[in-house]
Subunit: 194 residues, 2 copies
DNA sequence: CGTCTATTTGAATGTACTCAAAAGCGGTGG
DNA sequence: CCACCGCTTTTGAGTACATTCAAATAGACG
């Protein structure tokens, strides 16, 4: 089985891995196959796994006191996904991660990842970039939420990721944008008029 | 001049530093004094400094296309503040950091920080926890923005930080909550009735 | 085909916004 | 010490955007 994870890491850190470096990393990686609707992380339960999406789609979300769910992020091929809070601390996960279709993942245990980071500085570096990007994106999302109305946020989103609508149901996109499915439907209707 | 930065780091990593470890770190730290309204990081300009707030108050914000500013975070005594994006990458800062009053900071250059991290694993660990917490808080803020109305977000904020109103102007709190000053004023008026 | 789920549409409601003006507050200089 | 100025906060009236609740339509899958 051939993975494209090596290229992904090399692209992120902007340098190549030696075969030895990659092998040492790859031996601690485990292949995981999940079906649609299966949950790989469950809010409230500990999760010491970091996932790389080989193929398929997932989403992470929280459920609020009124039982409404809020999408935190989508995970597509070539993305990393985890509850980093639980992964990095020793606390229960703060959100749930669920497959939207049959999905193939590579899973890395936190202890193995720590070891690899210590042994191979490039992985430490890689991990920093991973969190850094996630953090910056998260801050940008807050700013966009405050500075743009839902219509503009939607346009920006499909501009940045035009295939999103083909890949995830519309009501999840609404949830990601922080609005109701009905509102997104109306936004799209108005948008088509122009 | 005595700093409380040592205690802060030890608390975060939940173990003590040896005198040697702390000394090695403290020698690369520089004391910075800024006046009210002075900017220590400017959006669009590179910034390779990480700041620890000894005394005083700052806020970080972005200015959108319509010229409106959006508060990203406040920095009080014992907080760390920086444009981590610019600090960790080699790109211009994505926001501005400005003192709200006369403020005393400790500044660490990125290169020194890297070196200290490499030499003293506890600092690497500390830094990870720092970003991790920032990232998790950022995600939680998104979820709260989507799941709670402005009134509840305000109540949660002053419950968590009751002295906030005494420390920063109300219009900045409004900006942090993602609403207009007029709206926060009305929210507070309604709140007093109950 | 029928069932289940997702999306669209409608009408009424609510929350926050805009624009405008008034009131409050704090600091400075006469 | 008080009057004035600039900035923050409050208040008012009208508006915009998104929500709620309900129902109709469309799509997907067995």
């Amino acid at each position: 089985m051939e993975s494209n994870i090596r290229k992904h890491i090399e692209t992120k850190i902007n340098e190549s891995l030696t075969n030895d470096e990659f092998e040492r990393f790859f031996t601690v990686v485990e292949l995981v196959e999940v079906k649609k609707k299966q949950q790989i992380v469950v809010e409230g339960q500990h999760s010491k796994l970091l996932f790389f999406v080989e193929k398929g789609t997932l989403h992470s979300f929280v459920t609020d006191e009124q039982g409404k769910t809020h999408t935190i992020q989508f995970g597509f091929e070539g993305h990393w996904i985890a509850d980093l809070y639980s992964f990095l601390s020793d606390r229960p996960a703060i959100f749930t991660i669920e497959a939207l279709e049959a999905t193939t993942l590579l899973a890395i245990k936190q202890t193995d990842f720590e070891r690899v980071c210590r042994q191979i500085p490039k992985f430490e570096h890689f991990f920093r970039i991973l969190i850094q990007n996630a953090y910056v994106n998260s801050q940008q999302r807050i700013v966009k939420t405050f500075s743009e109305d839902a219509g503009n946020r939607y346009l920006a989103l499909i501009k940045q990721q035009p295939d999103l609508l083909q890949r995830v149901p519309q009501y999840l996109i609404a949830s990601y944008l922080g609005i109701k499915p009905e509102s997104l439907s109306r936004i799209r209707k108005n948008y088509l008029k122009k």
